[in-house]
């Protein structure tokens, strides 16, 4: 394991899930999707999380664990019929939930930007990429069209697109996947946002291209001390890329730790299982992986992971575990954490 040395002083000590000095602070956030005639599905439950300026926070979880719901809830773009049941999203001193749609629009793209996967499908097929980048700049920065286009060209250069002048006038269908991804990064950075959410952004790319894009992204973010939430299904990427790692399961943070600590000693059985699956070690996998019987939600009366866990004890099925700080800055939601390296 080769974790990135932590940048922030605070990270070496016991950084709490949410603390002052963080640009984004999520407090007790709950999101649910109503289902007709049934209990609503709780996609996010009572979630605390924060990101410091200049920090890259990795958010790891399987499909359906609530990663994208969290991202969209932060931006106030929750898809119907999802709704926020409670909690607070504080961004840069503003209560995001109290803001009007127009105020949110002004923040999106300006202060909080989002990078998404499958970038070619996410760009307007009828407009040149240069104009699309310039449109974002013009929407937020109160500058002339010429100035915005100049800025767009500058951004294309910054994301190291070869021959940026020519690419400026290219249409999305004329770009490769990696190139389109760079365009989307340029678009998200054009207003120098304070916070970037990357939602599974590199999943569609070749491994080599992925590495290039990630390096570029990290350099740009570090350069401007931008905070970033890096959502991924690939726990391996977080080891190289993030300062802290949060593991999300069934809408809850089950483990949160500085990257180094996390990879040295993952404490939640689910984290260990994820790492085992990633390590391609059959013995490890056999030890930690239990065939998925059912995904019955516990409704807050038991550990959500109990049905899949290999270390179930009576209290796991009786009480819902809280997130506990087991060593400075290392939080685990488990009654029987794995205390030795697996």
């Amino acid at each position: 394991m080769n974790p990135q040395p932590a940048q922030s002083e605070a990270l070496r000590g016991g950084e709490q899930p949410v603390s002052a000095g963080q640009v984004l602070r999520i407090h007790g956030l709950s999101v649910s999707y109503p289902v007709y005639g049934q209990e609503p599905v709780k996609a996010i439950r009572d979630l605390d999380l924060g990101v410091r300026p200049g920090e890259i926070l990795g958010l790891v979880g399987e499909s359906g664990s609530g990663k994208t719901t969290l991202a969209r809830a932060i931006m106030g773009l929750l898809a119907r019929p999802g709704r926020i049941d409670g909690g607070a999203v504080n961004f840069d001193g503003r209560d995001m939930r109290a803001l009007s749609e127009e105020a949110l629009r002004a923040i999106r793209g300006r202060d909080i930007a989002m990078i998404i996967p499958n970038p070619r499908g996410e760009l307007d097929p009828l407009l040149t990429v240069g104009r699309q980048i310039a449109a974002v700049a013009r929407a937020h920065l109160n500058i002339t069209r010429a100035k915005a286009e100049e800025l767009a060209l500058e951004m294309l250069r910054a994301v190291q697109i070869p021959d940026p002048k020519r690419r400026f006038n290219a249409y999305p269908h004329e770009l490769s996947g990696g190139m389109a991804q760079r365009v989307v990064i340029a678009m998200s950075l054009v207003c120098s946002p304070k916070f970037i959410i990357s939602d599974d952004a590199t999943s569609g790319l070749d491994v080599t291209v992925q590495a290039q894009v990630l390096d570029l992204l990290r350099a740009l973010v570090r350069d401007k001390r931008t905070a970033m939430m890096f959502i991924t299904r690939d726990i391996g990427i977080t080891a190289h890329f993030c300062d802290r790692v949060a593991v999300i399961y069934a809408g809850e943070i089950v483990e949160l730790a500085p990257t180094g600590r996390f990879f040295e000693n993952p404490m939640h059985p689910y984290s260990v299982m994820l790492l085992a699956a990633f390590a391609h070690n059959p013995k490890l996998r056999e030890k930690w992986h239990k065939p998925l019987a059912s995904l019955i939600r516990s409704q807050g009366k038991a550990c959500e992971y109990a049905t899949r866990c290999v270390h179930v004890e009576p209290q796991c099925n009786a009480t819902h575990p809280e997130l506990r700080e087991l060593e400075p800055g290392h939080f685990v939601r488990c009654f029987v954490p794995v205390l030795r390296p697996a």
């Binding site: 289902v35 007709y36 005639g37 049934q38 599905v41």
Partner: protein
Amino acid sequence: MQSANEPALDPGEAGALGASAAGRRWTRLKFQLRFLLAVLRARPMFALGYFIVLTIIILGVFAPLIAPYPPETANPEDFLQLPSGRHLLGTDATGMDIFTRIIYAPRIDLTIAIAGTVISAVVGSLIGALVGYYQEMRGIRAFFAGFVMRAADVLQAFPVFVFAIALVAIFGQSLQSIIAAIAFVNTPIYLRLMRSQVLAIRNMRYVEASYVSGASDVAIMLRHIIPNSLGPILSQLSVNIGWSVLLTAALSFVGAGVVAPTPEWGSMIAVGFQSIITGQWWPSVFPGIALAVTVFGFALVGASVEVLADPSRRRALGGTLRQKPSGAA
């Protein structure tokens, strides 16, 4: 989400619970009736569509029992009477009772429209299925498939209405020839619809799988392609019947369809046309409303068929119906 939790709403599973064959059929029927009722409660507009269509058909069938006057007997003393207790919707310029003629009219209009549309749907779908199935192969059949499509192009390049009138003129002015004309102008619609359906379904994995496992062309068509393409065809059929009612009326309106004393909405509007300038609106307005309501009803039925024939949309609708039908409209 919904589908996993509602075994009771699946006709197949519900049927499997029944013991004997007859019992199973009864359970299935009961289930389907209940489902239909639930759908109609959730989507009152669909119910309105079925209500309109049924009412028009019943009125037409039982017209001789309901109608207060004979439909084709002129009564010159009573000409252009305003709607009143004696003549519910008034009389036309020859003194015929408009209400009587309106409820007699579906006998002609619906017969022509339904017969013409069904013929075109059957013929067009069959040709379309063959064309779609063989188009991408090689040899003489693919050549014919291409030829049929070019012919359909040419036919569709004709202005529909002039084409229909020309057909009626060629065959002579009779019920059969109007049906033939309507069938003829509608056929390319089904030909194209079926062809595109078949082309899409043909390349699906399950069709390929059954091809690889040695099923014959006929078996593939009967088992996979026709059942899967039936939904859009049926939905189009219903909308198209309404549209053919309009066309029938239009033909009669210009004098190329049903001849004057026969009760028919289009020719009634045409006859009333002269009076409207002088202020007698009822001979034209009432048949027009009857015509519009009928077409509207068939359009609604078409919309409902479109939803009900698609298993996923039917499920979605069923899911919303399950417990709180009141909130689902």
